[in-house]
Symmetry: D3
Subunit: 68 residues, 6 copies
Amino acid sequence: MKISARNLLKGKVLEITKGATTAHVKLDVAGTSVTASVTNEAVDELKLKVGQQAYAVIKASDVMIAVD
Amino acid sequence: MKISARNLLKGKVLEITKGATTAHVKLDVAGTSVTASVTNEAVDELKLKVGQQAYAVIKASDVMIAVD
Amino acid sequence: MKISARNLLKGKVLEITKGATTAHVKLDVAGTSVTASVTNEAVDELKLKVGQQAYAVIKASDVMIAVD
Amino acid sequence: MKISARNLLKGKVLEITKGATTAHVKLDVAGTSVTASVTNEAVDELKLKVGQQAYAVIKASDVMIAVD
Amino acid sequence: MKISARNLLKGKVLEITKGATTAHVKLDVAGTSVTASVTNEAVDELKLKVGQQAYAVIKASDVMIAVD
Amino acid sequence: MKISARNLLKGKVLEITKGATTAHVKLDVAGTSVTASVTNEAVDELKLKVGQQAYAVIKASDVMIAVD
């Protein structure tokens, strides 16, 4: 499956924290921590595990730009 | 100013493409291209220029996870 | 590739309208029109064509509920 | 009230799962399950109940396109 | 129609700028300018006009918090 | 740090409700309540407290327009 989302950042799962319905998944992407807030259900369905390779996927319209 | 958004990716502006109202800004983040879709107005106000340092800022709830 | 996004709606491309940077893609999903606003670049890269099968993909946190 | 969001998918509430602050609401939309992640507060205010008619409302800029 | 989105800010339309596909609508909300990026199609369908009353509608998961 | 997000609404923190992973922060913005759904981690890192001044930050592409 190919998707229109412009941003696909390859990383490694650092941490998975499940809440009551919402999970936070942290990836290490080239030395920077990237946090995703997804459903617990998605974590189960993808069988995400700490240490595995995964991608952060982000639609271009959800990216902001900041400068110092 | 400190912001709640969990993801701040440091990069360098590669390309700025202005449309009629919406601009696409590409950053090089650790060798990966990251595209942001923002208003032309924001590009002007931040005085974004190709080659400068900038950050991609992304709220955790806008990040998805994918696996191969 | 498997993705955490909870919503995958199968449809058929009805219409593709490219703007200066942003394209609108309409799918027919079970008789209802679904509009996606994506980059022109994504339309080109996916080689989207009117009439072909495609999916609308939506993160659960981007879905609101309304009642009459 | 009329809203700018382009996508209004009519369905029936299948399941409501409240978490500590965030609820997941599943609708059956023409035979496909659509999941929304909303606040518990919204579920209470709309008095959502399993079996009732409801709509999934999605802004066009939050819809991605995927192809096989 | 009642919607789950938690934020409904009443204002007055200050400016409408249509692009090729995407329009920017500015509202005056209690003296502060609020900008919405929506489809041209939505502007036409809602028959938005400068000077009229309108609301900015924002899902809670799209709001970030910043401090000085 | 300057950010591309077009909307910065100044307010005062009214209420902070932490869930298992996700917190809801309510601001009073010019007499209107604005709710943000953010990570618990962000609440801790920003040291948010009821009564303090804070801003709601919203990307233009996440704002919808509604009319009566």
